[in-house]
C-alpha cells in the first residue's frame, strides 16, 4: 500500500474496519512519506515517530479487542505548533518558546485522543500565527508543494503544506484572520474555520482572543466534518466556548442536504486587487452552482473594504495584551543581559520576538495608548459591528455566501516580505468572517495555468456549519480538484 498517505479519513476508516490495513501501517506510511519529502517541503518543526507508532499500536490493539472508537481511530493527525500536546515541544515557531514543552493537552487534542486519533508531529507556522506566508517562522521557511519556490500561505502554512505533500491524513490549524482558509486555498486542500466559540481555545497560545479559532485541514469536506464532530463542544476551561446550536451531525447532513440553495455573491469581493485567473475560476464555480439549480443572489457587504484596517487594529490590540505574558520570567526566553526587572522584560522580549511580532506589538500598544484609543480601537470595534450587520442582512436572503478565498494564488517567497501592508491584504477575503464570528470553508476549485491551486470560500451563518459543509461538498463531489496531488 504505497499511497496510504494520500487517502482520506473515510477511506482509511473503511479499510481499517474491513481489516485491510492497520493504524501502524498508515502511520508508518505517513512517517516514511515525511522522511522522503520534508527536506523539500519543511512542513514539520518536530516529529516523534516512536510516540506516533505507540499510539497507532494502541489503536490497533483497541480494534482487535472489538473496541474501535469511530472514524478517527488510528488516523495520524498533524498539529500546528500553537496547540499544546502533552510532553511535546510547543514553540509557536518562535525563539521566545524555544525550550518550552507542554505539560498538558489542549482540549481539542484531548477530544481527538478520545476519538482514537494518532497525534503526529508539530507543524510550522508564522511566529505566534502572525503572517500570511509562513515566512515569519523563526526556524524554517515552508515551501508550497505545488511549486517549491512559492509560499504555502499562512499562518498555518505547515499544516496546509503537510496535507498537500501527503505527510499527514489530516492536520489542525488555527484561523484568526484566514490562517486556515488562505493556506488551504494556496495548497489545494480543504480548510475550515468554525463559528467562533464552537471549539474550545484552551491550550491554544492566544494571539487575538476574540478572533482565534481552531479548525481542521483535510482532503475532503467530509473529512473536515468528521474532525469537527469530534472536536466541538462547550468547555469549562474556555469561557468563550459555546454549546453547539442547530444541526451538528455534519456527516449525516452531507447525505441529506442536497440543495438547491440560495447563494449570495458579494460584488465587493471581485473588484480591485483580484487576480484575473482567480476571478475567472470563482465565476466558473458560481456558474456550476447555477447549473445545479441554485439561485445566485447578488448581495452587498458594503463595509467589507474596511475589514483589513478593523482587523489589524483589533487583532494587534489583543495581541499586544496577550503577548505581555512572554516576559522572561516563568517560561519564555530570558536574556543573559537581564540585570533588573526592566531589562528582564525589555531585553528578553527584544531578543525573543521576530520582526512581524514586534511590529504588531508596537501597533497594538499604540492603538490602545492614551489619546489614540478612541480614534483607532474604539472606532474599529464600532465598524466591526457594521461588518457583522452586513452579513446578518445578507443572510436574511441567502443560505450561504460564495467568494474567492484568496485574491491571488501562491506568491513567490520573499515577494512581500518587506511590505507588510501588501502582506496584510492577502487576507482581504477571509478576515471579515473572523470579525463576524462566522464559519467558512475553503475547497479546491481548480488551478492556474501555471498549476497553482485556487480555493473557493463558502461562508455560512453562525452555527450554520451543516449547510456550509453541504454546499461545499456538492461542489467538491462534482469535481476532481481535491484528488489531485503535486509531484515531489
Amino acid at each position: 500500500m504505497s499511497d496510504l498517505h494520500f487517502k482520506t479519513i473515510s477511506e482509511l476508516a473503511a479499510m481499517l474496519a474491513a481489516g485491510e490495513t492497520t493504524s501502524v501501517e498508515i502511520t508508518q506510511a505517513v512517517i516514511d512519506r515525511t522522511a522522503a519529502v520534508d527536506a523539500q517541503v519543511k512542513a514539520f518543526l518536530s516529529t516523534d515517530t516512536e510516540d506516533a507508532l505507540a499510539q497507532a499500536k494502541a489503536s490497533d490493539e483497541r480494534r482487535a479487542a472489538g473496541k474501535a472508537l469511530g472514524p478517527l481511530d488510528g488516523i495520524p493527525i498533524g498539529i500546528k505548533d500553537t496547540l499544546a500536546v502533552k510532553d511535546q515541544p510547543l514553540r509557536c515557531a518562535s525563539k521566545m518558546l524555544e525550550n518550552y514543552v507542554s505539560p498538558y493537552d489542549a482540549t481539542c487534542i484531548v477530544k481527538l485522543r478520545e476519538a482514537g486519533a494518532v497525534i503526529w508531529g508539530r507543524l510550522n507556522m508564522d511566529e505566534f500565527a502572525m503572517g500570511s506566508s509562513t515566512e515569519n517562522s523563526a526556524y524554517q521557511t515552508t515551501a508550497n508543494p505545488w511549486d517549491l519556490e512559492t509560499i504555502p500561505g499562512g499562518s498555518s502554512g505547515g499544516s496546509a503544506a503537510a496535507m498537500a505533500a501527503g505527510e499527514a491524513i489530516a492536520t489542525l490549524g488555527t484561523d484568526t484572520g484566514g490562517s486556515i482558509r488562505q493556506p488551504a486555498a494556496l495548497c489545494g486542500v480543504v480548510g475550515m474555520k468554525p463559528t467562533y466559540g464552537l471549539i474550545s481555545r484552551y491550550g491554544l497560545v492566544a494571539f487575538a482572543s476574540s478572533l482565534d479559532q481552531v479548525g481542521p485541514f483535510a482532503r475532503t469536506v467530509e473529512d473536515a466534518a468528521i474532525l469537527m464532530e469530534a472536536m466541538l463542544g462547550k468547555d469549562d476551561l474556555d469561557s468563550t466556548s459555546i454549546a453547539p446550536q442547530g444541526e451538528t451531525n455534519y456527516s449525516e447532513a452531507l447525505k441529506t442536504k442536497k440543495g438547491p440553495w440560495k447563494l449570495g455573491v458579494p460584488q465587493e469581493f471581485f473588484g480591485e486587487g483580484i487576480d484575473p485567473e482567480v476571478k475567472a475560476n470563482i465565476e466558473k464555480a458560481i456558474d456550476w452552482y447555477k447549473s445545479q439549480g441554485c439561485e445566485i443572489v447578488d448581495i452587498s457587504l458594503p463595509h467589507s473594504e474596511l475589514a483589513v484596517p478593523v482587523y489589524y487594529i483589533v487583532a494587534t490590540a489583543e495581541a499586544s495584551s496577550n503577548l505581555a505574558r512572554f516576559d522572561g520570567v516563568r517560561y519564555s526566553h530570558r536574556s543573559e543581559e537581564a540585570k533588573d526587572a526592566m531589562t528582564l522584560f525589555t531585553k528578553s522580549r527584544g531578543e525573543g520576538f521576530g520582526d512581524e511580532v514586534k511590529r504588531r506589538i508596537i501597533l497594538g500598544t499604540y492603538v490602545l495608548s492614551s489619546g489614540y484609543y478612541d480614534a483607532y480601537y474604539l472606532r474599529a470595534q464600532k465598524v466591526r459591528r457594521l461588518i457583522l450587520g452586513d452579513f446578518e442582512k445578507a443572510f436574511e436572503q441567502v443560505d450561504a455566501i460564495l467568494t474567492p478565498t484568496s485574491p491571488t494564488p501562491a506568491f513567490k517567497r520573499g515577494e512581500r516580505a518587506d511590505d507588510p501592508l501588501a502582506m496584510y491584504l492577502s487576507d482581504v477575503y477571509t478576515i471579515s468572517v473572523n470579525l463576524a464570528g462566522l464559519p467558512a470553508i475553503s475547497v479546491p476549485s481548480g488551478f492556474t495555468e501555471s498549476g497553482l491551486p485556487i480555493g473557493l470560500q463558502v461562508i455560512g451563518k453562525a452555527f450554520g456549519e451543516a449547510d456550509m459543509f453541504a454546499v461545499a461538498n456538492a461542489f467538491e463531489k462534482a469535481h476532481d480538484y481535491a484528488q489531485q496531488t503535486p509531484t515531489l
Binding site: 463559528t195 467562533y196 508596537i362 464600532k382 453562525a462
Partner: protein, 97 residues
Amino acid sequence: MSETPHIDIDYVANLARLDMTDAEKAKLGTQLDDILGYFDKLNAVDVDGVEPMAHAHRVFNVWREGDEPGETYAPEVLTKMAPESRDNQVVVPKVVE
C-alpha cells in the same frame, strides 16, 4: 495620510516593554506610517450611535457550574519551565534596591 501622527516608537516600545535596535525602529517607523495611513479609511465611516463590538457573541459574567478540583501539577513540573529556578521557586534578577 498627512493627518496621521508619526508614531513615537521609543515611547510606544517602552509601554510595550520591548527593546529594539535603532535600525529596527527606523524600518518600523516607515512601515507603521504606511499602515496607519491605510487605517485612516475608517475615518470616512459614520459610526454615530453604533455600539462597539468586542466579541462575536454576547458573553457576560460566565460562572462555572461548580468549581471542582481537577488535576494539578507538582511545583517542579511548572518551575522546570522557568529559565532559572531553585527550591521550586522561579529565580529572577534583583528587583528591589
